[in-house]
Subunit: 448 residues, 2 copies
């Protein structure tokens, strides 16, 4: 370790090395001597949860801007109007079963029940086909319960995001599909790969054609309880109180930091994560760690005194979680800019495994060759996918090559969108390796 | 499997087999054809949490009594006056740190804060020595935070109860020790071997010499947050609201079922678990599973038409969790009875590993020989300890041989005293094996 440190110090003292050396310096420095964890620690421990529209989200914007300034990096904010949804009371109990408590949480964007709540019979379906088959007669006046377990076999096999996509369909659209048939509320099973009676929230959206009904996620345990009681043929009635509010939109901002390119300043390599988080945890894995990787990428390049050929633009997007307004606003303002790459990191901070990319064929092969430097942290593996991130999806759809950082996802959905998304879930060494991967790729693409 | 079933059916049709065969029949039947899971399922899913003094605890007494009657087993209730502590609002926030939410739960028996809560600075100590060293000057007016992590190394090495005993000291007596030096409230780290922002409650008790101050357990995550902030040298102030109430004692009951002995009816083999649970979960592992093992032991012996030489007494104790009043009341009423064994099962329902016993030397060796039948379910291992259970501790101290059932404890404290203590944590096959172990030992001791 001492040897490595010495080497880093020597390298730091020689800012005139050839380009391949610079990428190696960045990767080495990020791995061995990063401040990413300190940055993340302030964001999560001192600021905490930062749902769009909240005072904390505003604090996060101010703090991040201030940090970049302090590091001597050009920074600006660009306005974004964001939704302002506020969680309220959320309680459930089985009035048919000794008033057993049901642990649940409102889905982001849900409307409220009346203040005194609603009481209705539960009816469970495995999918939309079953819902449709039951029809209006059976669904009307009831609370629809989607039995949407996450496929844990997929999670174990490194395909966690696939399992998530499957299960999350009912979180997004389940309420309106149920409302279409006269349901009075909609419940899902928390989209989770682990649970200790743990609620997982997340965004839902209404189809304007149908009445808006309240929507919540029960914990895995509570969903199983309901499933077992219904399975015994018992009539199950729930009293449900949800009092979230949708307040008027609030002006917030994307935070945009830039290190000007020396040779092709008009060509932009974007590296981004999102500054907002859900309100239940402190958004350490989603996406405080991504924010820390982006901020540390910029800080390291500045600290090492490196001058990239292309402009590196670090973007902290606002409102990825419940609106994607930051991503949209950025695209609206900057679609004319000459982006040559859009790197996004929004998948946590476990050990690095590589990147998703929208590149194919020869371009993909060329990328593998030029990004060999990422081998040091096990991140030199690239896999094609058309979608490499949410905030950058508009750019990538418009033809900008996309790159999505992929850490080991096996435990991501244990914590994602839950109260347990907190700093202790992150290993500082892994975060350093992740930062090395993101900073390394950023440099390679900016300086090639 | 079919062969085993056939064997069981044949055995069931032959109730005149010799005594050693009876123990084998019981073990086989309990393993292959138990109703323990159904019993547990009703208790946890249909009745739910059953803290002493609650309506649900009363329901559980009535239901268990009714079940025994339905199975044709002699049953009676014996009155026990129990505490009636009711949880209220419980919220914490760091007013010094952007009002970050602190997830915590009142410890059982805690007094309330004023309705509007208290706000005070946090001061952390690793043990009583540090507390004492800080003294009145530093402690007065503050909220004492005990940094009492559970030793997970011990948990992994099969010594979970030892790790629990160490950490739980601060739950029991920490508040009074802090109050002695002028603290205004006392917080511990949840005594937990796993956490997803999970609160673990449990009993605390006041020393009447000192003021009663509110006491709560933070989740592991929240304790770590406080620890990190204090570690950075920051001043941390918390707003704490706890509104539990201690209502007047309530009359409840132990449920006592009996199968009369044929040769020595005055000699009693007691097999017991506790019917009450904490209020956060549904008490599946603590101690619904023990209750199910005891009830199924009685039901199986009755169903198989077996007549033990000694009387078998199944006892469902009330109020093990926050008073041990049931255990005390039983001892007061029955210390004159000729107990030859006191078997207790109150350690969950994972795979069986054996029993603790108060027997030593030759008596322990003899036990190992006569209980060989438990080998079938891996439970023929006995280990000496002076304390084999809580409810039966009074009997065992008075000289009755004690036996404590020991399932694999590696995950017990992941769920114990938390909202996650629910039926899904129990594998029906393991519960069947556990029941076989408890029923088998009961029979061996009653019929030898």
């Amino acid at each position: 370790m001492k040897k490595t440190l010495l080497a880093s110090l020597l390298l730091a003292a020689l800012p005139t090395l050839a380009a391949p050396g610079d990428a190696e310096r960045i990767v080495a420095r990020a791995t061995d001597n990063t401040r990413a964890y300190d940055t993340l620690s302030y964001l999560t421990d001192n600021i905490g949860a930062r749902l769009s529209g909240s005072k904390s989200a505003d604090l996060a914007v101010k703090w991040a801007t201030q940090q970049f300034k302090q590091w001597g990096i050009d920074v600006r904010t660009e306005p974004v109007m964001v939704p302002h949804w506020v969680r309220g009371i959320e309680t459930g109990s089985l009035v048919s079963h000794n008033n057993q408590k049901i642990v649940l949480t409102a889905l982001g964007g849900s409307v409220a029940t009346p203040a005194e709540g609603i009481t209705a019979e539960l009816i469970e379906v495995n999918n939309y086909d079953e819902l449709k088959a039951l029809g209006k007669e059976k669904i009307k006046g009831k609370i629809v319960v989607y039995n949407n377990p996450m496929n844990l076999e997929l999670v174990r096999n490194g395909r966690a995001f696939e399992a998530y996509s499957e299960a999350v369909e009912y979180r997004g659209r389940g309420a309106s599909r149920a409302a279409e048939l006269g349901a009075v509320a909609s419940l899902i099973r928390s989209v989770a790969s682990a649970s200790l009676r743990t609620v997982h929230t997340g965004a839902m959206r209404y189809d304007d054609k149908f009445p808006k009904i309240p929507a919540a996620a029960m914990t895995v345990e509570d969903s199983l309880l309901v499933h077992r009681l219904l399975g015994k043929g018992e009539k199950v009635r729930m009293h449900l109180v949800l009092t979230p509010k949708t307040l008027p939109d609030v002006q917030s901002a994307n935070v945009i930091a830039e290190i000007q390119g020396t040779e092709k300043p008009e060509e932009i390599v974007l590296v981004g994560g999102h500054l907002d988080s859900w309100d239940l945890g402190t958004g350490a894995i989603d996406d405080g760690s991504g924010v820390a990787m982006v901020m540390e990428t910029m800080r390291l390049i500045k600290e090492l005194g490196l001058k990239p050929k292309r402009t590196i633009r670090g973007v902290l997007f606002m409102n990825e979680e419940n609106g994607l307004r930051g991503g949209r606003a950025y695209f609206a303002a900057h679609k004319g800019d000459k982006h040559v790459a859009a790197i996004e990191t929004d998948a946590g901070a476990a050990a690095p495994t590589g990147f998703l990319t929208s590149l194919k064929g020869d371009a993909l092969s060329a990328l593998e060759t030029k990004a060999k430097v990422l081998d040091r942290v096990g991140a030199a593996k690239f896999q094609f996918t058309p979608e490499t991130g949410a905030d950058t999806s508009f750019l990538v759809e418009a033809g900008v090559p996309g790159y999505g950082f992929v850490p080991d996802a096996r435990h991501y959905f244990d914590y994602h969108h839950t109260p347990a998304d907190t700093l202790d879930k992150i290993d500082p060494k892994e975060l350093a390796q992740d930062t090395a991967a993101v900073a390394g790729l950023t440099w390679v693409l900016a300086d090639e």
